[in-house]
């Protein structure tokens, strides 16, 4: 329902994984979070591109991808194909 709820759901999941240590990895929990069907699908499937495109904080995206065991080469294409790639702008330090 709100971007905060998506991020809260993912963040709480990451904390539960951390608490589990070397024990069994808990599945992501969506009950108790006010999510739309699309948000629920994105976090449970999971659909990294959709999660990113919603505006999820990149630190959470990064942590979630790492928790899934993705290497950078695995998840960079998912983000590049998310449809939410910002257009680069000219900067004062850009040489070329």
């Amino acid at each position: 329902m709100t971007l905060y709820m998506v991020q809260r759901c993912l963040f709480d999941h990451l904390r539960r994984l951390e608490a589990a240590g070397d024990g069994p990895k808990p599945d992501i929990v969506t009950e108790g979070y006010d999510l739309t069907p699309e948000e629920r699908r994105a976090v449970t499937e999971p659909d990294i591109g959709a999660i990113y495109a919603m505006g999820t904080h990149p630190v959470i995206v990064n942590g979630f991808c790492r928790a899934l065991g993705y290497k950078r080469a695995d998840y960079r294409p998912l983000l590049e194909n998310s449809g939410a790639v910002p257009t680069p702008r000219r900067t004062p330090w850009q040489k070329s």
Binding site: Y4, Q7, R8, F11, E18, G21, Y52, H57, P58, V59, I60, V61, N62, G63, C65, R72, Y75, R76, L79, E80, S82, V85, P88, R89, T91, P92, W93, Q94, K95
Partner: protein, 284 residues
């Protein structure tokens, strides 16, 4: 009164302790050699405690209550929470008298830091701190900054914040020799389509300003433009604050290596202590 006997800024990529051998040997050697230089300087100057500023990574705060700046006020803080960091978990001593003095001093100077108990020290602190003192006995006052979640304090606001931190440390009469340390940066992209990129142009441009002591260009960069250099690059706010605390005197760039295996521009900039140069400009 305390003197800031040295100050330095250093990148804090987790891989520098988690998997240091993953970097090209020459790059790693150059970066770590710079950290050895600052470690030697700390011993030479007899540092009694450090004040360290670094970016918050949702280790201590989340979106339900995210301060722009928070100071850890306890006598000791647990670090690091990341079991994979290859840094032993330990209660790291602090100097709560200095921490409380800095908090009060910042508020008196118009800053509004949050006060925190139970602060944890993640890789933002521990990678750099562990290289400074692998016994982890040197007291460290931790300060976290919001560098990734808009709306953000600007570079210029962090410069003002740095001046205030310098004033606060120097007005503390409980210690004589304090070091100021900044962790984070240089350019890196996290959890976004450019993950793994390094903006070498930005890194050189920024380091040149620190080396010259003229930060006017970086201070004029708006937050959204700074983000173009990488969504993790905003951690250079800590470097800007540190430069300001040292009166914007020229820093010594000891190392710069774009380490793509660590997805991070890795740099170290060292500043001479107060007694080694002119009285910092703009200090009360």
């Amino acid at each position: 009164m305390a003197e800031i006997v040295m100050a330095y800024s250093a990148s804090h990529a987790p891989m520098m302790t988690a998997d240091p051998g993953s970097a090209p040997r020459e790059q790693a050697d150059n970066f770590f050699s710079a950290l050895e230089t600052v470690r030697d300087r700390a011993k030479e100057t007899g540092v009694q405690a450090i004040v360290m500023v670094t970016g918050e990574h949702f280790t201590n705060f989340f979106l339900d209550g995210l301060p722009q700046v928070a100071i850890g006020l306890d006598d000791e803080h647990l670090g690091p929470p990341e079991v994979w960091l290859q840094v032993p978990k330990k209660m790291v001593p602090s100097d709560s008298g200095l921490a409380k003095h800095i908090a009060a001093g910042l508020i008196e100077q118009g800053q509004q830091p949050a006060m925190s108990h139970g602060m944890k020290l993640d890789h933002g602190f521990m990678t750099v701190y562990y290289w400074l003192d692998n016994t982890m006995e040197l007291p460290m006052v931790p300060i976290v900054l919001n560098c990734t979640t808009p709306p953000l304090m600007t570079a210029r606001q962090f410069h003002d914040f740095g001046v205030a931190i310098g004033n606060a440390i120097r007005s503390y009469d409980g210690l004589e020799r304090v070091a100021l340390v900044a962790g984070g940066g240089l350019s890196h992209f996290v959890g976004e389509p450019r993950v793994g990129d390094i903006d070498e142009d930005f890194d050189h441009w920024f380091l040149d300003q620190l080396a010259s002591g003229d930060l006017s260009e970086i201070l004029a960069v708006p937050n959204d433009v700074l983000m173009e250099a990488g969504n993790g690059t905003g951690e250079v706010r800590a470097w800007i604050a540190l430069a300001a605390a040292m009166g914007d005197k020229p820093g010594h760039v000891l190392a710069y290596e774009p380490v793509y295996e660590w997805i991070n521009g890795m740099g170290v900039v060292l500043y001479d202590g107060d007694s080694a140069g002119a009285v910092p400009a703009g200090q009360a």
